[in-house]
């Protein structure tokens, strides 16, 4: 038996006719595997018009639509009816009342069909009769306003002198409530969809298997998702918030740095959840079923469109432990109340817990082929 040292440096081939490029690749940032992988993520995303719609346009449309539907109107003028010109004149003194003088039967008809909230009729001996539905708040208000107008017209002098100072401040409107909710929903959607679909698609195409057949470090592949997510985050959040600020004058009372941190933590947390969802699925159908299963309950209970407080107290601990609830509560506290990180530490802990649990489990389960 011959004794031979075998060194792993066999390059057993002729060199004739080879392309003459044995030189190492030019280093350069653009040639780095992580940069190339991240660029590929962007290209795949940006060249998918539907993805662009769902990430950028849809939340704006939603905010615009809901903002318009639930906008705060100027103090409303109440419609009331009466049957005599004297009463109509006295009532007309109040600017909050829109008085129509109608014939008796027409006035009754208008009251019955809700076209007016109150019907003022003369009673016997100079008295006045108010006819209205006392279960209708508009009716009750109209009665108070009408009564005040008539009494003042008849010479009543209020014993206490009062004046009004009006406050219509942004921060307490529905749109102010909605924008942080949509922001949270968007962070969840793009992290979970963005990761889930791309990963499952690459697995289904056996592209992932092809990549691990190269010297690509595996963690680069996952890191490229993280990096592209963080860059996209800036664009996404910036887009939605500028819309809220410039169109609806939504307040930004908290520190922007804190808000950025909240967005990053939220995104990482949902990214980990997305990775977990996509860790084993082999078909787009299986993955999207799972994603909907995970996201749908949170859309409903986590307070995107209405306060999560509306659900029974019994459920509150569960609802509060959901990542979307934590994210939205924290975003609202920052934007609307100007809360600092210390005040949202509970929510940050919830988000961090999801990240710390999901990420290692996802890596453990992850199927590369």
């Amino acid at each position: 038996m011959n004794d031979i040292t075998v060194v792993p440096e066999i390059r057993p081939r002729a060199t004739a006719g080879r392309p003459a490029s044995q030189a190492p690749r030019d280093g350069g940032l653009a040639g780095h595997a992580l940069v190339q992988l991240t660029l590929t993520r962007f290209r795949e995303f940006l060249r998918e018009p539907e993805a662009l719609f769902w990430v950028f346009i849809f939340p704006i449309l939603l905010a615009a639509g809901l903002g318009l539907a639930f906008r705060n109107r100027p103090a409303e003028v109440l419609k009331i009816a009466t049957v005599t010109p004297e009463l109509a004149r006295s009532l007309g003194q109040d600017k909050l009342l829109d008085v129509q003088q109608l014939a008796a039967h027409a006035a009754e008809e208008a009251l019955r069909t809700g076209k007016v909230a109150l019907l003022v009729e003369p009673g016997p001996g100079g008295a006045v009769v108010y006819r209205f539905d006392d279960t209708n708040p508009e009716g009750r208000t109209a009665r108070m306003l009408a009564d005040r107008a008539l009494q003042r017209a008849a010479g009543r002098v209020d014993p206490v002198r009062v004046s009004d100072r009006l406050m219509r401040e942004p921060g307490s409107r529905y749109i102010d409530f909605l924008i942080p909710g949509l922001l949270g929903m968007n962070l969840m959607g793009s992290a979970i969809w963005g990761m889930g679909f791309a990963i499952v698609d690459a697995r289904r195409r056996k592209l992932m298997k092809r990549l691990i057949a190269t010297p690509m470090p595996r963690h680069y592949y996952l890191l490229s998702f993280l990096l592209s997510r963080l860059v996209m985050l800036v664009i996404e959040v910036g887009f939605l918030l500028s819309f809220g600020i410039f169109v609806f004058k939504v307040p930004m009372r908290g520190s922007l740095a804190d808000l950025a941190l909240l967005c990053v933590v939220t995104s990482l947390s949902f990214g980990a959840l997305g990775l977990l969802i996509a860790s084993r699925a082999r078909t787009i159908e299986a993955a999207s079923g799972l994603m909907n299963l995970v996201m749908m309950p949170m859309w409903i209970v986590s307070g995107v469109f209405f306060s999560a407080q509306r659900f029974p107290d019994m459920l509150q601990p569960v609802i509060k432990a959901l990542p979307l609830t934590a994210a939205i509560d924290a975003l609202r506290a920052n934007m609307l109340q100007g809360a600092g990180l210390a005040q949202v530490s509970g929510q940050l802990m919830v988000l961090a817990a999801w990240l710390v649990v999901c990420f290692p489990v996802a890596l453990k389960l992850f199927r590369w082929r």
Partner: protein
């Protein structure tokens, strides 16, 4: 004596050596005690029907599948100790990889290039597989043949010493196949070692210096295509069909004829292995006339690897 490893001298000339490889998936034995040695610089073909264990074998060699037992030595290295170094020196084309559709040819090659320490510039690799005109087209818009050439280009970006090609032309039209063959011929001239799997006998005959015929996870024959064909001892095949009269045919009489090695019947077609065509065919016609059997079709061809497979297993390569 300073060295610790004892190995036969022949190790250094084999680019790939596989010993007693076994792999079982659930209850299916995919690879069953396989032995292989691929010499440096040769193009070696694994030929066999679907399900013979070709892909499992090649993926074990590529370090993508872990065998149940056995040993793979590649370029003098092993997967468990030199995986990173091996990855740098291999070019791999997998069966059925769909590259990302939205990304262009150039972007795809740049991405794959970025994983390797050395290698030609992306444009050069693209030129190598003749995709210059499609350089800025998206992968989704390429034809089947172009996609396959791009897959080949992805295998070449690291200037590999060893190239694994798993069914490189499956599903392509004849023209695209010939184009791909020409490219692979070119790689052979550049001195790369190639291991390819195929279930096309013509592909193996055309490209491979040596062929291992696989069936049920084992190598059942090994040699150059010419050696394998001569090993079955016949030069030619004669096939004829005798229509409805085939049942009446006296097969033993055909077997006794001069220069005939073997006779098989299959769905009304009779296949004869023949050593001397010019004597066997007239004798056959005479014999059929004597038996009163009408001849409806007669074909002859030189023996191929397909015939080798049929002779060894009694089955066709493409029983799909």
């Amino acid at each position: 004596m300073r060295d610790t490893k004892k190995m036969p001298a022949s190790t250094t000339t084999a680019a790939l050596r596989v010993r007693d490889l076994r792999k079982t998936f659930k209850d299916v034995v995919a690879v069953d005690g396989l032995e292989l040695a691929v010499r440096a610089g040769e193009c070696f073909g694994l030929l066999g029907p679907n399900g013979a264990g070709k892909t499992t074998t090649i993926e074990i060699c590529e370090g993508l599948t872990v065998p149940d037992s056995g040993d793979v030595e590649l370029l003098g290295m092993h997967w468990n100790s030199h995986a990173a170094e091996l990855r740098q020196r291999l070019g791999i084309q997998l069966q059925e990889t769909q590259l990302a559709d939205k990304v262009t040819v150039m972007e795809t090659i740049r991405l794959f290039s970025s994983f390797f320490r050395h290698g030609p510039p992306p444009a050069e690799v693209i030129a190598l597989v003749q995709l210059e005109e499609k350089m800025n087209s998206r992968v989704g818009g390429l034809s089947g043949g172009q996609k396959q050439r791009l897959a080949l280009a992805c295998a070449l970006v690291g200037d590999p010493d060893f190239l694994f090609l798993d069914e490189p032309t499956t599903g392509l039209d004849p023209q695209a196949r010939r184009q791909l063959w020409a490219l692979i011929e070119q790689f052979k001239l550049q001195g790369r070692t190639i291991l390819l799997t195929t279930h096309y006998m013509d592909e193996a005959e055309q490209l491979c210096d040596r062929v291992a015929i696989m069936d049920h996870g084992k190598v059942i024959a090994l040699g150059t295509p010419r050696e394998l064909i001569t090993s079955i001892g016949v030069e030619h095949m004669v096939e004829f069909s005798a229509g409805g009269a085939a049942k009446a045919l006296e097969i033993p009489a055909l077997r006794r004829m001069d220069g005939v090695r073997d006779v098989r019947t299959e769905n009304g077609t009779v296949r004869m292995q023949v050593t001397e065509l010019h004597r066997a065919v007239p004798a056959l016609l005479e014999e059929l006339e004597r038996q009163g059997v009408p001849l409806t079709e007669l074909r002859t061809h030189s023996a191929t690897l397909e015939d080798v497979f049929v002779t060894l297993t009694g089955r066709h390569l493409r029983d799909e």
